[in-house]
């Protein structure tokens, strides 16, 4: 026989909570960001003795301090938004495209190749058309190879797209050794061949981001294709059962994904840098995964998440370079990671709640519980019965 009987209730237990309203969810996320920022400030104080408020000021300074900083913020946020929009349909379909970086690099490389060979040889307009079509085409190619393998032989797209990144980086190195004139290990920018400016250098990027956002919103939420994408992501069996050609849907969606990544590559090379490097995408192929995740594949919320991510990383970078006088990005990486971590943690609170011993009665049942407590016989009153029936039907 057992001697010790457990008669104490557990201190708290975890239970699922009723679905929250959109406002409540937003509030949870917002408070997560605030908590994360305050905590990062304290970490900075602990490590460097810096004033935690100075960090906050530094972040704003880094983003809004000068006109060009504001433009850079908008440029990077738009680019990240575009990459997120590229990944969103694939992710919606549960096709884990981790090859954003590679697809962007290949788009940029194709663009650079056109500039390298065609600049000055043919009319600029034709060169622009070539740049656009090859960038998009090569971006598609880089995405569609894993997709075809997935559709035909059910290979793992996660590893496949990831490995395609390294091939793309290798190709850039090869091109560098081939095309570089001074053998400095870097290609020379071809600024003359950049796409024409409209108003400002970066307005084109912002306009494209806006257009693609609107397109993607309607594509995912309202179109027949979007419906198919969501259904394949939900259940391949059900999709087949209602007569959807799953292979076709996978390939078509990833094609779209690759095409937008190709456009981003074009913008990096043909608008921003006039050049291509191994780290042209600034790791946006991976950062965008966070943006998509936070936004739950909703293109409109992605505007906020992309902007927030860029705002934070640009701001922290500025702060550590100019205030902490650090040359590497260790601190900013750490703090950005910290913020991500806390935001992801708060997802737990969106789905679950902790019930402690004391407050377990108080979640919408307070009144009923009190009535129960008042009666020993357990026979419900008419009011209670009504309430129960309502509840039981849900």
């Amino acid at each position: 026989m057992t001697n010790e009987k457990t008669i104490r209730e557990p201190l708290f237990h975890i239970s699922k909570r009723a679905p929250l309203s959109k406002g409540q969810v937003a509030l949870i996320y917002l408070s997560a960001v605030v908590i994360a920022l305050i905590l990062s400030g304290f970490v900075c104080t602990l490590l460097f003795g810096a004033n935690p408020f100075a960090a906050l000021v530094g972040i704003f300074e880094g983003n809004f301090g000068t006109d060009s900083r504001i433009w850079w913020l908008l440029r990077d946020a738009s680019l990240l938004l575009l990459v997120s929009l590229a990944l969103a349909p694939a992710f919606r379909m549960k096709f884990w495209n981790l090859g954003g970086n590679g697809q962007i690099i290949m788009g940029a490389l194709a663009c650079y190749a056109c500039m390298h060979y065609a600049y000055g040889q043919i009319p600029n307009v034709i060169m622009y058309i070539l740049m656009i079509t090859t960038s998009v085409g090569v971006g598609i190619l880089w995405a569609i190879i894993p997709a075809v393998f997935k559709a035909k032989w059910n290979t793992n797209e996660t590893l496949f797209t990831l490995m395609m990144n390294y091939i793309a980086m290798g190709l850039v190195n090869y091109a560098t050794s081939k095309w570089s004139l001074q053998q400095t290990g870097k290609l020379e920018p071809i600024n003359g061949a950049k796409l024409p400016e409209i108003g400002n250098k970066y307005i084109l990027i912002i306009l494209i981001a806006v257009a693609v956002t609107v397109f993607m919103f309607f594509y995912l939420k309202k179109s027949k294709h979007g419906f198919e994408v969501a259904l394949v992501g939900e259940s391949v069996n059900t999709a087949r059962y209602v007569g959807i050609n799953v292979k076709k849907t996978v390939i078509r969606t990833v094609l779209l994904s690759g095409a937008i990544c190709g456009i981003v590559g074009l913008l990096f090379c043909g608008v921003v840098d006039g050049n291509v490097y191994e780290d042209t995408p600034q790791n946006m192929g991976f950062t965008a995964i966070m943006a998509v995740w936070f936004a739950q594949c909703n293109p409109l919320i992605m505007i906020i998440s992309s902007f927030g991510i860029i705002f934070l990383s640009r701001g922290i970078n500025h702060y550590q370079k100019n205030v902490l006088k650090l040359t590497n990005s260790a601190v900013s990486d750490m703090i950005v990671g910290f913020v991500y971590f806390i935001i992801l943690c708060c997802e737990f609170f969106v789905v679950y709640k902790l019930q402690t011993r004391r407050n377990k009665r108080n979640f919408g049942f307070k009144d009923i519980s009190e009535q129960i407590a008042g009666k020993g016989d357990g026979k419900p009153t008419a009011v209670e019965k009504e309430e129960r029936n309502e509840g039981g039907n849900k």
Binding site: R17, A18, G243, I372, R388, K394
Partner: protein, 540 residues
């Protein structure tokens, strides 16, 4: 002699989010050496209550007493400490382990792991209660009933005195149920206390000493089995008088709508799922398919719907061959298939989609333009919600959040709305309570009157005997016989399901399962067969 109380629950309450009351003020007493049936419709909180006793959930209010002492059960480990063992509806076994390995898994009695000792103890327990088990047999080689035996021995091995069985008979044949009941009675004689959850009233009457009834989470009462009858129990369970009779509508049978000949289908692993099956469905007929779970029912459904390639044979719909056609074309021809898998959400519905989106699963591509027509789908969803009394906050609620019965109403309702001429439906009432089940039977009967041919793949033999016109019995993919529901008995069906009785052997005539008034002449069948053979050769 005064009976000793083994387990007592006092005023147990459990609330779920969204103001759902799963259990409220439940009082339950279990004596030593008795079998108590827990009866209630789906969603009445039986499983929730049992989960609280076995430490999976924690009660929000109330007290649990074991042997007269108050206890708090915080985890399944605690439950074992108090000698409570639960046998879940869905088995929790490691496939590649042997029976004994599964049984000893998680036991921490301080001694070293010694499989030989475990094997002999398992044999000892098996002998004591009359189980039939080989401790060294791997789970993946076991039948459903053997797996259940492992689960039961698992809790006995841990020394459980209170056993909770959650719908143990749902997956068994009549003969296996009889065997299980013999074992339960032996355990009872040995002083164990048993709580058994079941929907089937005849089983309640047969096995239990007392019956406790829950309705909508509320404790209704406990009665002595000897002093009650199924009718009274149903009334307590449903809360009103109900007529338990399923109607078999009389219709004039039309010509065969769907004719299947010599059909051979493989399972995913390449083994035989359906072995040379021939049968036909007439318009205005409900044709039942009886068989132990996993005997090729799923593969048959998938093959007819065009989702699974067949090995050989013909599936003719109104004289046209369906084989090789894409699923979409088969749907357009009016062949509707709905399969309710064990998790109830698998095929035919998208769980996180709204009711509206699920309504347009099969029709979304209709209409011109690149956008889907959500407006008309919403109207159809609302009409269906009203017609079938689907309980939901709105048409935009994800079906995942609906209760089982309402999910099935959405699925069956959508299928019928598309006005099919052949309905293939597998387990449409799986896990539904009595009221919802009757709604589904009514819908099927209504379709039958309209001249639709219905293939009803079911679990409950009593229901099939009452509802179907004819019943095909399959055993490991082979048709054992096609019988008229009015002329057969449950025992006969049970024998056929286990393969002990083969009517096709007896009758030996070649035309078993072949309609005399087929849509095609024998020559035409021959021609179709040749065409099919040619096509297969081309594919190779």
């Amino acid at each position: 002699m005064k009976k000793q109380i083994a387990l007592e629950l006092k005023n147990i309450c459990k609330y779920f989010p969204g103001k759902v009351i799963a259990n409220k003020n439940v009082n339950l007493t279990l004596y030593k050496g008795e079998i108590l049936s827990l009866l209630g419709e789906n969603g009445s909180g039986k499983t929730t209550l049992m989960n609280m006793i076995s430490g999976i959930y924690f009660p929000d209010e109330g007290k649990i007493f074991i042997d007269g002492e108050e206890v708090v059960i915080r985890s399944p480990k605690d439950a074992f400490k108090y000698k409570i063992g639960m046998i879940h509806q869905h088995f929790k076994l490691v496939d590649i382990f042997s029976a004994a390995e599964n049984i000893v898994l998680g036991v921490n009695d301080g001694s070293r792991y010694n499989i030989k000792k475990v094997n002999s103890r398992v044999r000892e327990i098996a002998e004591r209660y009359g189980f039939d088990i080989d401790p060294k047999k791997k789970i993946y080689n076991m039948s459903v009933s053997e797996k259940q035996t492992v689960e039961i021995i698992k809790v006995l091995y841990r020394g459980a005195d209170i056993l909770i069985l959650d719908e143990p008979t749902a997956v068994l044949t009549p003969q296996e149920i009889e065997k299980l009941f013999v074992i339960l009675r032996k355990m009872k004689a040995d002083g164990k206390s048993i709580i058994i959850i079941t929907h089937k009233l005849n089983e309640v009457m047969e096995i239990s000493d007392r019956v406790s009834i829950l309705r909508k989470g509320e404790y209704i009462g406990t009665v002595e089995t000897a002093e009650t009858n199924p009718k009274e129990l149903t009334e307590m369970m449903v809360g009103k008088k109900t007529d338990l009779k399923i109607e078999r509508v009389k219709t004039d049978f039309d010509r065969p709508l769907l004719e299947i000949r010599d059909l051979v289908i493989n399972k995913d692993d390449g083994s035989l799922a359906i072995d040379n099956a021939s049968f036909y469905i007439r318009g205005g007929e409900i044709l039942g398919v009886a068989g132990i779970a996993g005997c090729g029912q799923k593969e048959l459904c998938e093959a007819i719907a065009g989702l699974r390639p067949i090995k050989s044979g013909l599936i003719m719909h109104k004289g046209e061959n369906l084989i090789g056609l894409p699923p979409k074309v088969i749907i357009e021809k009016g062949v509707s298939m709905s399969f309710i898998p064990e998790d109830r959400l698998g095929m035919g519905l998208a769980p996180s989609f709204s009711i509206t989106d699920n309504m347009m699963l099969k029709t979304y591509s209709e209409g011109r333009g690149p956008f889907v027509d959500r407006k008309s789908a919403r109207a159809r969803a609302n009409a269906l919600i009203e017609k079938l009394d689907i309980v939901t906050p709105s048409s935009e609620t994800p079906v995942r959040r609906l209760s089982g019965g309402n999910v099935q109403k959405v699925l069956v309702g959508r299928e019928i709305e598309s006005a099919p001429n052949v309905i293939i439906t597998a387990y449409p009432v799986r896990g539904l309570d009595i009221n919802s089940s009757y709604v589904i039977y009514d819908i099927l009967n209504e379709q039958k009157k309209k001249g639709t041919g219905i293939l009803f793949i079911g679990e409950d033999l009593d229901v099939m005997l009452a509802l179907c016109d004819k019943i095909i019995v399959i055993c490991h993919g082979k048709i054992m016989g096609i019988v008229h529901a009015e002329k057969t008995t449950k025992e006969e069906l049970g024998l056929m399901m286990t393969g002990s009785l083969d009517l096709t052997e007896e009758k030996k005539d070649k035309n078993y399962g072949i309609a005399k008034d087929s849509n095609l002449t024998e020559e035409e069948w021959k021609a179709e067969e040749e065409k099919q053979a040619e096509k297969e050769n081309e594919d190779d």
